[in-house]
Structure formats: structure tokens, C-alpha cells
Amino acid sequence: MPSSQSELGDTTGIAEELAADQRSISIAEFFEKNKHMLGFDSDARAVVTAVKEAVDNALDACEEASILPDIYVEIRDVGDYYRLVVEDNGPGITKEQIPKIFGKLLYGSRFHKREQNRGQQGIGISAAVLYAQLTSGKPAKITSRTRGRDEAQYFEVIIDTDENEPEIDQESTTSWDRPHGTRIEIEFEGNMRARQQLRDYVKHTAVVNPHARIELVEPKGSFKFERATDQLPAETEEIRPHPHGVELGTLIKMLEATDSYSISGFLQGEFTRVGSKTAKGIIDGFRDEHYGRAMTWTPPRSHEEADVEAALTAAVSNKGKAATADFASRVAERVGEFQRLSYHQLADVIDDVAGIIEEEYDVTFGTTVRENARSAAWRQILGGDADEAVRESLRGDLYGIIDEATSSRKDDAAIEGVADRLAAKFAGSDDNRHRFTRDEIADFVERSADATEEYDDITFGETARENVLEALWARMQTVPDDPPKVSAVAGDRDAASNLLAAMRAADIIAPPTDCLSPITAELVREGLEKEYAADFYAAETRDASVHGGDPFIVEAGIAYGGDLEEESAADVLRFANRVPLVYQRGACATTDVVKSINWRNYGLDQPGGSGIPTDAVVIMVHVASTNVPFTSESKDAIANVPEIESEIELALREAARDLKSYLNKRRSMQQRREKRNKLATVLPVMAEKVAEVAGREPLNIDDTMARIMNNVLVERERDGDVVRLVVENNSGTNAALEITDIASAEPSAVNGARVTEMDGEWFLSWEPTVESGDQAILEYELDASADVEMSVDGVEEAKLTVNT
């Protein structure tokens, strides 16, 4: 392409740069057995899928290198097989990349990147190569030329499906007329029964890629789709995944692949919107999930029996009386300052005080001594030496928490019962430090409440249970233990799952949206105009939204009238990241939304008021996202994600509103034309007859006709209970009217009319402004037997006709 050649600019080295991103995942063999998942389940479909994957790749390659795509697709019947050739004018690929890109499944740079891209997962073209090899036994023939090279390189690639390793059979240099680009040729079993889908696919691709020139040559026809714009899609920013948008499997793979050592580094390095603060929040959540939280208890007060100081004094031996006493009293004092404290807070206090005492008294408080002190003091904090005392103390503490958390009307006995049973659970737990996960605490609460209901015959409902759980969890503390390292989490599915839960629970701002490249409403329109000869086009691009952790943009387009088929169901063109979706129309969220809209409201025929409208209309929906959620690997249908469905609906409705006003205008123009024609036949006949009956000269009625055509007409039509006031402004200026209908019964569904009742008569008033040449319809409901009469102000009498 000479035209694009001159715009190429500095693209040397792009191929090499892209190659650096490649990573390999080995599942070739898996897909050999699951080719249906990739869209190769029938011979007919294989042709469409192979073309689709090759064209998607070609377009991506061009766009990544900022080249206006010029793509040639050829399908030829070569006896036993079909031969597919796809050529592009992209940057070409280097010798090192060629076998990797075309030979290895799930081996694209995109799997690890968050960027709006056609293929998204890099399984496409390699699957086509593999399918060709499995059915024809022939290698993929690849010709590629990077910019500035004198010669092109030629390869034949075969995949070792056991090893998922590509092998280069043949390698040579060759001449090629394209200055840069890639050509792939594969042979495979297939048939052309899906010819229509194939043609649709290419045509629809041309609609959403107005910057591309595409040529299709197949055994029974050839098609050229010319470029409608020289404007390349906006370049997309690659973004890292958002913590809310990853699955467990992906997370584990990322953990395995990362260079980071700590979870914090991993989170900040591999995800978007995660800084140190967010990372800390996630890690705290992760700790809570992974280690549980530590329960805090109120330290004993002076009036209580438990005595931290005495217990400490008893627990420390051989440290000298003064040092021991000082230690015990300082720890007890510090403990007494806490409202509530946990085991690890107590440990901090003891370590702290022990350090001071060691310095002041020149004694050593070894690990054993500190541990003894900790146990003894903790026991007192829990309630005292006797088990009974512990249980009693915890019960009192818990009573206060439960009482505060539950409604004020809660029966004392219920709180008592739950507190007592919870106290037993805490006291009896194996973990002396009182560390529990949220699930464990929830289990405590459930069992205690169940037992209270069963034995004490008092209800303790769901809400109360949840409140108690929340209150307990809020009083527990995140433990200071370091989170496991990346390598440990990567190797432990449960730990990874805990991390994922913490990531999901964390409050993180939505991902940036500059990674998306919508077609733009203007180009959607141009694309439709280019491929469909219609009378009217509307297009709408929504603002970006987010689902899971992935940003997305929905665009809709509508073409109406012209050469489009009126009697058959509307064509619904579905696109994901500029790729037409050809199969599984019925399973697609797009189709569901189109069917759910009442198109009659927008002036289209729709039998039964739901389903695909039956009218001369093409409806287009494009979903662009860093991760379009598909229903299956073959990427034929968009999954029913509520956020996406809602955006699709809004986009369609916005475009449909434009259609409606166009249709209304057209209808009213048509009505006026019909009226003009009708009056132009009726009135001359009337004038002739009038002259005949009156026995006078034939009449010239031009002035009357002119007046009718320049008048404001207000007409009332009644159809059962529906009253319709039609205001028709045939004059050259806008008309601001005051219309009042006086009804003898109470009207309903008055659509914005001001209604006043006076002596059993209802006055309905409107003040519509009707533009020159336009018409307004005011509708309301009124019992068919009721009387109405009208008065109209705002237009001088000579220019007004009221017809009731």
C-alpha cells in the first residue's frame, strides 16, 4: 500500500519490541481435544473461524504499528482441502517470533496485558494453524517482511502437540511485493456451507473498521470493502489488571510469574490502582483472611478478683525482688491503660517493659521468662486462675458487646444465653491467643444462638446474629504477623484464595478508561453508511463504565429505511472489541437486550411488542473492553453481565430516540403530504358542486387552499376512551398555544395537562409550542360517553382552525 507506506514513520523495531512481551503457556494438547471450544467444531464453521482469527490478528498487528490496515483474504478450493491466505500490511514479524506466534497456543502478549484488543487471549491464529495441521497434515506457510528489509522470509511451521513446541520445517528468503507485512497460508478440511456467515463477518468487520481496506475472494465471489476514513483508532494505553477483575487461576499464574518477593510489591507492581496505601489495606484484609484476627478483652479493673500484677510477680522468678516487683507493677499499669487488649498487644507491653527492666536492673528477661509472664498475665486478663472465673469474666465482657449490638428491646435472657455460650467457646478454644478467622467467629455465634434458641426457647434472629458477628469482628485486631511471601502464596491455593478475597473486599478506585478505544459515534455512523444504503443513521457512544475490574464502553448504531428489508427481522450486528460476533446470536447479552426493548415506542414494527423488531432496520452494538466477558472460549456471545446489559440498553435507547424523532418527523411530513393531496382533490369538487347548487360562477379556490396550508389546526379525535388533540402548525412561524379541553367527567392519564375541577367540569390545559411545520399530539383518557369542548388561545383567530 503506497499510501500507508508514506505514513509508516518509525516503526522499525516494533516487531522486536512486541516480541519481548511474549510468554508461553502450554496447553496445545488440551485444545487438540477441545477444538469445539475454539470454534472449529464443524467443517463449515472452521472456515469462518480461521478467517476470523487471521483477520483479527492482522488488524491488531497493523494497528499496534499505527498502519492503516490493508487486508487481503482468499479462500480457494484445492481439491481435498480449502486453502486460506490472509495477507496484511502490518509491521511484519521477526524470524525469532514467527514460530512462536504461529505455533504456540495461548501464547500471545495479550494474555498478561490489559488492553482493548481483538484477540484478547492469543489463542486465535495458533488454533487455526493447529486445526489445519490436524486435518490436512500440512504446515502453515508464513511469509513476512519487516520494513526496510530487501527480502521477505519464508517459513513452514509444524506444531509438536505433545510438547507444544513449534518446529520450523523449511526456512528460506523469498521476494514479496508488499514492502512490509505478513502472509499466512494454511490448508484444512472445510466446506463453504457457512458462506453467508463468512461474508457477513467480513462485511461487519468493514462496518466497525472504517479505517481498514479489506478484500475477500472466495470460490463464488469477491468483495472489496473500501476505507472510509484515514483516522486510525485511538491508541490504547496498556493497563495492568485491576484487583477486582482477576480470577483465582490468573492470580496464581501471576504470582508464579512475578519478580516480586513480597505480596505488597506484587500488588503494587502487577495491578493498576494499587499504591502502598491500597496494598496495605489489601494485606490487612489478607492477614485477617489468612491468620484470623486476635480477640481483645477488657483488662481486669481494681475491684475485680483477677490481679495481673500478682500473677506476674508469681510468674517471674530469680530476677530479684525489686526488678520483679517493678516489672510486674509497670506491666500491670500499662495493661490497665488499655480499654481492651489482645494477646499480641500484651506481648508488646511485656517485651517493652522487660527491655526497660533489663536495662535498669541489669538482669536478663529471657524468652522463657517473658513467655511465662505473658501466659500468666493473659490468664488474668481473661478472668483469673479458675476456669469458672475466666468464663464468668468473658461472659460479662461479651454481654456488654451483645447488648450494644442488638436492639434495645432484646430480652435480657437472650443476651445472657448467647453471651454465656460464646464465653464457653472462647474459653474452650485451642488457640490460647484467641485468634480466629471471621468464619470461625461466625460459627461461634451461630452455634451459641442456635443453642440459646433450642434450650432457652428464646429467638435470636438472623439480623441479631449478624450484628453480633460484626461487633465481635470489629473488636478483634489484625495480627502483626508478616503476610506469607509471594512464593508461599503461589504454592498454596487456599492462601491465594484468601488473598483474592482480600483484593475483592478492598475498596479500590475504578480502573482508568484510557485503555479503551471506542470506534466513536461518528465512525460508527460512517461505517453503517458505507455498507448499508439506508435513509437514516444514528449512533451513540456511551461513557466508560466498569464491570469487575475491567473498564468497558458500549456503542450502538441504527440504520433505517432505504434498501433495507422491511418484512424480515432486523439485522442485529454484534461486536466485541471491533470483532463481529457471528455465531450463538441467541446466547448473547446483546440480543437479549435488543429483544427486551419495546421498539414500538420508537416507531418500529415489533410483533407482540417484544423480540427482534421486524422492520427495515439494522441494529449495531459494540462492546469495547480490556476483558469482554464471553459465554465461552470460542468468543461468540457476550455473557449476561448486568452492568454491560444496562449500558447496552442505554446506548440503544439513545440511538433509538434519534430514530424515533426522525420517524415522527417523517410520519408527520407524510401525513401532511397526504392531507394536502386529499384536500387538493376534495375541495375543488366541493367548490364545483357549491357553485352548481348556488347557481353561480365557477370558483377560484387558490386563496382558500393557501390559507389551509398556512393555518394552525387543532383537532380532537376520540377513539374509545382515548382523546387525542392534534395540533398542526402549517404556518411559517412557531405557535405558542393555550389549549383547554372542558370535560364533563374526570379525565385520567393526562400527560402533563393542568387539570382543574369546577362545578363538575374538568378543565385540562396545555401550553404547547409547536414549531413551524411541526405537529404536537396531546393525549389523555376520558370515558367515551363524557362530553368535551375546547377553547384555544394564543393564535389569532384568522390563522386558527379548531375542529372538534
Partner: protein, 361 residues
């Protein structure tokens, strides 16, 4: 109202109005009173209900309006021709006749449309349908009583005595009762009877002879000719008029149209209504007083009664009392339920008592 000779002129004047509107360059239109319950008012002078001030406009500005006016002009042309040739036709014939007009847009869609248009033309031209030589399909009702009259028929003048010169069926009222001239009268009062069964009972029992009564058979909702004749009997012979119907809301409306005029022809009330007409029965009070066999009121009966309470024509003390009583009773009775006391009860007891009470006999 009008004499026949100027009926044609008035129609042509109407066409000339349209002509003038065209000539001025304005949009042809025709304004007629709104024909609805809410647009009838009591005319103190004539004691009848006539149309109020509200009007509807038929304008050529819309397709619908233009077609209406076109039909009006074609109809005027037809009526003018008919009068010229001294022919007459029925409303139904007019409807079918329009099929033969050369312009499709001038043809009627249904008979309601042509009937309505004739009413419009009556109102706008001030000429009655009868003077257009338009008549309804049904033959008029009958009269039996001591009255000698002269009718101007198409086949010459006929002198008829309404007891001696007629069979049991009585004298048939012509479509245009203004062709009748009253010659001799021996009657004391007029009794308008709703149903054929009761009318035959009265004749069989010789009630007309015994009480000097002209029995007018209304045949349900009375035709214009019946009402016109009744009014003339009252106005010209100074006879009290009484109305005897079933005891249900629909029958009260029959009385209403005799006495006060109907909503559809309120423009002719002055010409058709007999405001002095009195209601004999069956009254709701009679159901109690005579312990008559009854039927329960249906939902539509109740609605009709309630609608009558709103009807300006029935807003009198007598009617409000009777209607409210009936709504309480939730019952209705037919004229012929009087037969539960024997075939002669109505002529020997009920009517003499009631008419005496009403100071008619």
C-alpha cells in the same frame, strides 16, 4: 317553522354561504350546536329544553372536516332536487343513494353519518327534516279516539274519523303530521301509551270511548311525527296530555322526550315537545302502593337512573323523589304487571284513580 316552499331556498342559501366563504378565500366551515347532555338548557319562554351556547365546528381545514362538508353539499344538492320534483325519500334511502354519487369522498360511511348530517342541516337551515321530504323507515305510530281529521295525502285529501273510519289498529300517523287538519273533536284528553300490548288492552276494553280519550301509541321511543302530533293535539285542541309507560328508567326517557324534547333533536323542541304532558305511571310509588309484580334492577338500569338524576330534564322534585325511591327499591315493573289484578284492573281502577288524582277526569 318553515313552509315547504322556502325549505329549498334555505338549503341553497347554505350552499351559497360556502360559496361566499370560498370566494373570500377563507376556509369553509359550518358551526352547529354541540349535541350533548351538557349542552341543553331550559328555555323559560317556551318551557322546553333547547341547545345551549356550545358549538362544534366542521371545517374544511382537515381531511375529515372537508369530507363532511363535501357530503353536506352533495346532500343539499340532492335535497334541493328532491324538493324540486316533489319526491320524498327515507333516511336509509339517502344513505344508499349516496353510493350512486360520482365522487367517492362524498359517499357516506354508515347511516349514522347520514342521519347526523341531516340533523346538522336541519339545525343550520332551520328547516325540519319533514320539510326536506325525508322520513324515517318505520311507519309512524297510531291514534285511536273521537277525532275527525283531514289528511293531505299524495293521492288527495282524506277525511278520517279516528274511531269510526279505522280498524282496531287505529289511524296511522303520517310522516309529516303538519299535513293534517283537525276537523271535529269530542275527546277530553290524550293518553300516550308506550307498549302495544297496553294500547290494545285499552282499545279492547273501550277505554277511549268510555272516557273520551285519544289513545296515542308511542311504540317505544316515539318518532318525531308522533311527538309532533301529540303537541298539536295539545296546542290546537287544548287537550291535556298524559303519558303512560313502564316503570323503568328507559320509559322515563320516553316520557322525557314527549314532554321536554330529546337531546338529539333539541333544536326542534319548540316544535316537538309538550312540556305540559303529565306522567301517569308506572311510578315507583305504584310498585309499593299496588304491590305490583317486579323485576330487579339491572346494573344498566341503575346507571341509567343515576344518569337521569344528572339530566337537567329530570331535575324536578317529582322525578328526584321517584328515581331515588326506585333506587332504594331496586325494582321495576311493566305496565302489563297491572294484569295481576285482572284484565280490567287497568281500565276500571288504576287509570280512573290516577287520572282523577291528576285532575284529568
Amino acid at each position: 317553522m318553515s313552509t315547504e316552499t322556502d325549505a329549498r331556498e334555505r338549503l341553497i342559501d347554505l350552499a351559497a354561504q360556502f360559496y361566499d366563504q370560498f370566494e373570500r378565500g377563507s376556509i369553509p366551515e359550518m358551526e352547529v350546536p354541540t349535541r350533548s347532555k351538557s349542552n341543553i338548557v331550559f328555555d323559560e319562554e317556551s318551557n322546553v329544553w333547547v341547545y345551549g351556547d356550545r358549538t362544534s365546528t366542521r371545517s374544511a381545514n382537515s381531511v375529515r372536516g372537508a369530507q363532511k362538508l363535501l357530503k353536506a353539499v352533495y346532500t343539499i344538492d340532492f335535497l334541493a332536487d328532491q324538493l324540486d320534483q316533489d319526491r320524498s325519500s327515507t333516511l336509509r334511502e339517502l344513505y344508499y343513494l349516496s353510493e350512486s354519487w360520482d365522487v367517492d369522498d362524498a359517499q357516506y360511511n354508515d347511516q349514522d353519518e347520514s342521519n347526523q348530517l341531516i340533523e346538522d342541516l336541519e339545525i343550520v337551515s332551520g328547516v325540519t327534516r319533514e320539510d326536506f321530504h325525508m322520513r324515517p323507515e318505520e311507519s309512524g305510530a297510531t291514534v285511536m279516539g273521537p277525532l275527525l281529521l283531514r289528511e293531505q295525502t299524495r293521492r288527495g285529501e282524506r277525511e278520517i274519523h279516528c274511531q269510526e273510519d279505522v280498524g282496531e289498529g287505529g289511524y296511522q300517523i303520517p310522516n309529516n303530521p303538519d299535513t293534517i287538519e283537525f276537523l271535529e273533536n269530542e275527546a277530553e284528553f290524550v293518553l300516550c301509551v308506550e307498549t302495544g300490548g297496553m294500547r290494545d288492552r285499552l282499545v279492547e276494553n273501550g277505554f277511549d270511548e268510555e272516557y273520551g280519550c285519544i289513545v296515542v301509541h308511542l311504540k317505544g321511543q316515539p318518532a318525531r311525527a308522533t311527538r309532533r302530533l301529540t303537541k298539536r293535539l295539545h296546542d290546537e285542541l287544548d287537550l291535556p296530555v298524559t303519558v303512560f309507560t313502564d316503570g323503568d328508567p328507559w320509559s322515563y326517557r320516553i316520557y322525557g322526550s314527549v314532554a321536554y324534547g330529546s337531546i338529539k333533536s333539541a333544536h326542534l323542541s319548540e316544535y316537538l315537545a309538550t312540556p305540559q304532558a303529565d306522567f301517569v305511571g308506572i311510578r315507583p310509588a305504584d310498585i309499593v302502593e299496588y304491590d305490583l309484580p317486579t323485576d330487579p334492577l339491572s346494573d344498566s338500569d341503575v346507571n341509567a337512573l343515576e344518569s337521569e338524576l344528572d339530566d337537567p330534564r329530570f331535575q324536578t322534585e317529582f322525578w328526584e323523589e321517584q328515581i331515588e325511591l326506585q333506587l332504594d327499591l331496586e325494582k321495576k315493573s311493566e305496565q302489563q304487571s297491572l294484569a295481576s289484578y285482572g284484565l280490567d284492573f287497568v281500565t276500571e281502577t288504576y287509570l280512573p284513580e290516577r287520572l282523577d288524582q291528576m285532575n284529568v277526569v
